[in-house]
Structure formats: structure tokens, C-alpha cells
């Protein structure tokens, strides 16, 4: 699989952690079986993502943020965390792929988007998949941009206090990087060498605001230097690259402290179902982005390298469709939360 030479070490903090240049063959710990499984997940995520959008147009899903274009970054980094086995996640609101690959069933996802009883993060008190899914080591209280970062740092600090070598991965967008709390989180993490990885899914837009109106630099990774830890920019459309960079970052975080990983991706869909991105992006720009679709490109790669056959790929897609259809029906049939539960659990019981 050809890899783009995309890891550009930016931090001064710890030169010895420079991420290795891509080599032929698979990165450490990754099997072809993993690739097939991740591709299968990607297809599932993409299929449900598209379905949710359609359900929104049908009035069944009030709002959704699509992860189309972010799948390789989310699934690649997650796979590294899963293989490590001692990671905890504070995802971003656009991380449908991450949350699914971490363990949610399609039905649970559908319950989330339809706001039905049984929703796993908050029993539908919150926006889809917002709250906590402790079974899968995930917390995301809110979609207030930037607010999860300090919490992730605190969680990681607590792990260390408890002599537990968990590493925390916290995800955010290029827009979120402008928030004061992003700075405060990174600064504290640097000072206390907290085992946390800051993963920026940089899709170059915060709703309609393009990157050059968000930051004066070409990349975010250059900021890490000011916090005394390393930062890297990786091609977030390249699944194995994201896996590899995250794997190395986990090792670094556990032994030496924070890392900033910027994964450059594309937002293929409008910001949310409420948005129309043609107000602020040209069709040409979008067409170029579609060319870089991480899911179809990953599939094409796997086929080109003989890891799967075109028939297998079709089979994966057919199975995903079947699973999503069933999930949609199940969620459609599910009940709404009992109104009286609105009053519960304002405080710990």
C-alpha cells in the first residue's frame, strides 16, 4: 500500500519521538485481517452515516453531524488504542465512526439519532451519543466545543494518581483549537507531563469558517512546541498512517507525556443536516475533496493489493446495508423515554 510521506515532526520537545517514515509493508502490530475488519467497520459507518442523513430529510432524525471524510482518522487512531488496550477516549461530536468502532451496535446508533428509549449515552436526554458510554471507555458530556479537552487532561491525571497507566485520547476540531480551553488543557498537560494525546481532526472548516480565518499557521502541530511537547501532522485520509502515528503517540504519552496529533482530513458533507455548504465552499473544492474519500480509497487499495476481492467488498457493503436496515426498523419501533424520567437524576443517587 503506497503511503503518503505525511508525518512532519513539529515539536521540539522530544526529538527521539519523531514518528518513523512510512515503510513498505504493514506497520507494527497491524495484520491484513485488521485491515479487512477496519474496512468492514468503515463501510458500516459510512452506510449508517448516509442513512441518518436520509432519515433527517424524512423528519425522523432532528439533527446529525456526519463523519464522512473522517473515517480513516477515527478508525485508524481507535485501532491503535484498542490494540494498546489501556486507553480512554474523550471524543468530539463528529466522531460517529469512533464511537461505533469502539463498540456501539447500529441499533444503538439509530436509537441515539432518533432519541429513543435505550439510547446508550444518556437514554436520549442528549444529542445523539453524547453523555457517557463507560462500557467502551468513552465520555463526552457536551458538544460545547473545546470543553472536553481539560476534562481529558484531568482524567489522565487521575489515572496517574491511581498508578494506572491508562492513556487518554481526546479529539477535537480545527475550530476547537481556537478556544482558550484548548490552550489551558495543553499547557497543563505539558507542565505536568500528563499521559494524554490531543488529536485534532483538522478538516479545515469550522462550520463555514475556513482554516486561515481560524489560525494564522499552516498547521496546528506547530503549537505543541510552545507547550514543550511534540506535535505531528499526519494525513488523516490514510488509515494505516493514522494507526501508526497514534500507536507511537500512545507509547510516548505513557512514558513521557502529551503529544499533539493533527490529522488532516476533509469534511465531505455539510457541517450538519442544518447546513448548506455551498454557501461557503465551491463545487470544485468539494469535488477535489470527494476524490480523497478515505473509505472508497481504502477499499480500492485493499483490492489493488489483493487483500480483498471486489466481490468481498460488495459483500461487505451488502451486509452493512442489511444491518442498517434492521437497525433502522428496530429503532423506529422503539419507544420514546417515559416523560416522567425527565425529573430524575439531577443529582447522583
Amino acid at each position: 500500500m503506497p503511503r503518503k510521506k505525511s508525518a512532519r515532526p513539529k515539536g521540539s520537545g522530544d526529538a527521539e519521538v519523531a514518528i518513523a517514515e512510512p515503510i513498505e509493508g504493514l506497520p507494527e502490530g497491524l495484520t491484513t485481517g485488521d485491515l479487512v475488519e477496519s474496512y468492514t467497520q468503515m463501510i458500516l459507518v459510512r452506510t449508517i452515516d448516509e442513512r441518518i442523513w436520509a432519515l433527517n430529510r424524512q423528519g425522523k432524525v432532528p439533527i446529525a453531524a456526519s463523519c464522512q471524510g473522517h473515517e480513516a482518522a477515527q478508525l485508524g487512531s481507535l485501532l491503535a488504542a484498542q490494540k494498546d488496550g489501556r486507553c480512554f477516549l474523550f471524543p468530539y461530536y463528529r466522531d460517529l465512526g469512533l464511537k461505533m468502532a469502539a463498540g456501539l451496535t447500529p441499533t444503538q446508533v439509530m436509537l441515539s439519532f432518533m432519541g429513543k428509549e435505550g439510547e446508550p449515552y444518556s437514554n436520549a436526554r442528549q444529542f445523539p451519543m453524547q453523555g457517557a458510554d463507560l462500557e467502551h471507555n468513552i465520555i463526552q458530556i457536551s458538544n460545547v466545543v473545546g470543553a472536553g479537552l481539560t476534562q481529558a487532561v484531568g482524567y489522565a491525571l487521575a489515572c496517574r494518581m491511581q498508578d494506572d497507566d491508562t492513556v487518554v485520547l481526546t479529539y477535537f476540531g480545527d475550530g476547537a483549537s481556537s478556544q482558550g480551553e484548548a490552550h489551558e488543557a495543553m499547557n497543563f498537560a505539558g507542565v505536568h507531563r500528563v499521559p494524554v494525546i490531543f488529536i485534532c481532526e483538522n478538516n479545515h472548516y469550522a462550520i463555514s469558517v475556513p482554516q486561515h480565518r481560524q489560525m494564522a499557521t499552516d498547521d496546528l502541530a506547530s503549537r505543541a512546541q510552545g507547550y514543550g511537547f511534540p506535535g505531528f501532522t499526519v494525513d488523516g485520509m490514510d488509515f494505516t498512517r493514522c494507526y501508526e502515528a497514534t500507536r507511537e503517540a500512545i507509547t510516548h504519552a505513557r512514558t513521557q507525556g502529551p503529544v499533539l496529533l493533527e490529522m488532516q482530513v476533509e469534511r465531505l458533507m455539510p457541517h450538519t443536516t442544518d447546513d448548506d455548504h455551498l454557501r461557503y465552499r465551491t463545487q470544485e473544492e468539494l469535488d477535489a475533496a470527494y476524490e480523497r474519500d478515505p473509505v472508497s480509497n481504502f477499499g480500492a487499495e485493499l483490492i489493488a493489493r489483493g487483500i480483498i476481492t471486489p466481490e468481498k467488498s460488495d459483500e461487505i457493503k451488502a451486509e452493512a446495508l442489511k444491518a442498517i436496515n434492521e437497525a433502522t426498523d428496530a429503532a423506529d419501533a422503539a419507544t420514546l423515554p417515559d416523560p416522567s424520567t425527565m425529573w430524575d437524576r439531577v443529582y447522583s443517587e
Binding site: S178, R213, D275, L336, P339, M342
Partner: protein, 327 residues
């Protein structure tokens, strides 16, 4: 007179004031090409250019602090917070700095600034896109706080706010944006800050309300009119400075008071209205002061059933009115 909705009224006020005064400018997230997520600023960047309609980085504290600094230099900034829910990071600039700049400089600094804040629920916004945030500004000397309910009031008060030399928190209920329509006069007009409006005259019970709830109150008042309950509906419009006179006069006439708001009941604006009346119109009261407000849970949950349970609505108000009438 043309019939417009609330968001159109907001946009008209912004455009007219920007045309009138080159010092007026807009800043916020996505206010430029996107025209704001609710399209309040749609088209303004084309008319006034990038230097007067500024897409900021995603950072509310700086939006507020930069607006304040620009106001110190004599500009008249209109920062927009995308949803009221995201105003918290800007609280220090707003409550600590903006509200106190005039007082803390012994009147030397003027702060001609209006922060526009889309707020409120009933739109399936869940815990973080539904908040009512008015009580905190209501409690802050140095701020003016406006929360109108109709296109006419919104336009007239937004124009007054922009011309005011004190900082104004301008609350626009999101659910009213497209739902509520009304006539807008062709010509120029403004509405004075600090005046409540009796939206319906009545003899038996006073309702004090504002924002989206006002419309439900008016519906409820109509609903009980047939039962012989004649309700007076006071629309506060401006929360701070509070028009005590209008509230007190109404209660002195009716002797009974129901306060309705969407925000959590404890410590909300309604508490102050009750305290005001229990002090200054005590002798006129024919019964206990009641509040029908959002319950004490952290804003509105997402699921339809839960949101419905949270929101005060016409039915709930009708029932409360019947209870007050029966007292």
C-alpha cells in the same frame, strides 16, 4: 405594512443600523458568508464587506473581549454568540469587564455594544442548544437585558439597543425566529428600552411573561376567556431595567399574578417579579403569587417526550390560570 418573521426583523434592524452608522459592525462565528447559523446576518457581508461583518475564530471569550475593546475606541460592535449555550466562556468578559467598564471608570468609558444571543428551547436542542440564560444577566447591574417576543418589538428594540451607549444583552428566542410572524411598519421606528407592554388587557389575573412563552400565554388567555376568566398579559420585553410600574399597576388592578417563563424556576426572573409584587403591591394581592416555569432540571432533554415534559405550554398555562381564578 409587510408581514415578517422574527429573523427577518432582526436582519432588517441590523441592516438599517449598519447603513445609518458606519461605526456599527458585526462579529461572530459564521456571520459572514454563512449569514449566521440562523441566517440573521444573511447578505450583510455582501453589502458591508468583510471588515464590518467579521467571521471570528471559534472562541467566545475573545469575541466578547474584542468587541469590548473596539467599543472603547468608539466603534459600536454587535458580537453574536451562536447559541446562548456557548456564552459561558465569555462570561468573564461580559459580567466582569463589560458590565463594569462604565462604573469602574467612573463613567469615563462608554460601552456601546449589543451582544445578540439566540436562546431557548422547544427545538429539540437538548441540554446544550436550548438554554435560557437570562437570569444571570438580569442579575447584573451595568447590563441592559432585552428579550422581545414579536417581530415588531424585536426590530424596534434592537435598533434602540444598537444606539444605546450601555452594553445590551439582546436575547432572541430561537423558536420564535420562523414561527412568529407579525407586521412591520415600512418606515423607521424604535421602541424605548425599559418599557413593558400590556399585550392583552384583562381584569381578573395578571400574567407576566416574555419571549416565546408570551405567545403561549396569549393563547391561554384566549382559551380561558370563554370561561369568564379575563386575563391581562404583560410582556416584559426589557428584563433589565425592569418596568416595575407596568407590572405593579397590572397586579394592583387584577389582584392575582401568574408568572410564566421557560427558564428553571428557582432563582429565575420570575422570582424577582414575585418579590417585587410581594413587597410593593402586597396590599392588593388577592391570592398567592404563582409561577409556571421550567422545572429544576439542567435545561431541556433531547427526546421529544422529555422536552415536552419540560416545556411550559398553552395547556399547562390554561390549567394554572384556572387554578389561580379558582383561588
Amino acid at each position: 405594512m409587510a408581514v415578517k418573521n422574527v429573523i427577518e426583523a432582526v436582519r432588517e434592524a441590523l441592516r438599517e443600523e449598519m447603513q445609518r452608522d458606519p461605526k456599527v459592525f458585526i462579529m461572530g462565528e459564521d456571520v459572514g458568508k454563512r449569514g449566521g447559523v440562523f441566517l440573521a446576518t444573511q447578505g450583510l457581508i455582501d453589502e458591508f464587506g468583510e471588515s464590518r461583518v467579521i467571521d471570528t475564530p471559534l472562541a467566545e471569550a475573545s469575541i466578547m473581549g474584542i468587541a469590548l475593546g473596539a467599543a472603547f475606541r468608539g466603534m459600536r460592535p454587535i458580537p453574536e454568540v451562536q447559541f446562548s449555550d456557548f456564552i459561558w466562556p465569555a462570561m468573564n468578559q461580559l459580567i466582569g469587564e463589560t458590565a463594569r467598564a462604565c462604573y469602574g471608570s467612573n463613567g469615563v468609558l462608554q460601552v456601546p455594544l449589543v451582544i445578540r444571543v439566540p436562546y431557548g428551547g422547544g427545538i429539540r436542542g437538548g441540554l446544550f442548544h436550548s438554554q435560557n440564560v437570562e437570569s444571570i444577566f438580569f442579575h447584573t447591574p451595568g447590563l441592559k437585558v432585552i428579550a422581545p417576543a414579536t417581530p415588531y418589538d424585536i426590530k424596534g428594540l434592537l435598533k434602540s439597543a444598537i444606539r444605546d451607549n450601555s452594553p445590551v444583552v439582546f436575547l432572541e428566542h430561537k423558536k420564535t425566529y420562523r414561527l412568529v410572524r407579525g407586521e412591520l411598519p415600512e418606515g423607521e421606528y424604535t421602541i424605548p428600552i425599559g418599557q413593558a407592554d400590556v399585550k392583552r388587557a384583562g381584569e381578573h389575573i395578571t400574567i407576566v411573561s416574555y419571549g416565546l412563552m408570551l405567545h403561549y400565554c396569549l393563547e391561554a388567555a384566549e382559551a380561558v376567556a370563554g370561561e369568564g376568566i379575563d386575563v391581562e398579559v404583560v410582556d416584559l420585553r426589557t428584563l433589565r431595567p425592569l418596568d416595575k410600574e407596568t407590572v405593579l399597576n397590572s397586579v394592583k388592578k387584577t389582584g392575582k399574578l401568574l408568572i410564566v417563563h421557560e427558564d428553571n424556576v428557582t432563582g429565575g426572573v420570575g422570582a424577582e417579579i414575585a418579590a417585587l409584587v410581594a413587597d410593593e403591591a402586597f396590599e392588593y394581592l388577592d391570592g398567592p403569587i404563582r409561577r409556571l416555569c421550567g422545572p429544576d432540571v439542567p435545561t431541556m432533554p433531547f427526546a421529544q417526550t422529555l422536552e415536552d415534559e419540560y416545556m411550559p405550554n398553552t395547556d399547562k398555562i390554561v390549567q394554572a390560570l384556572r387554578k389561580q381564578a379558582a383561588y
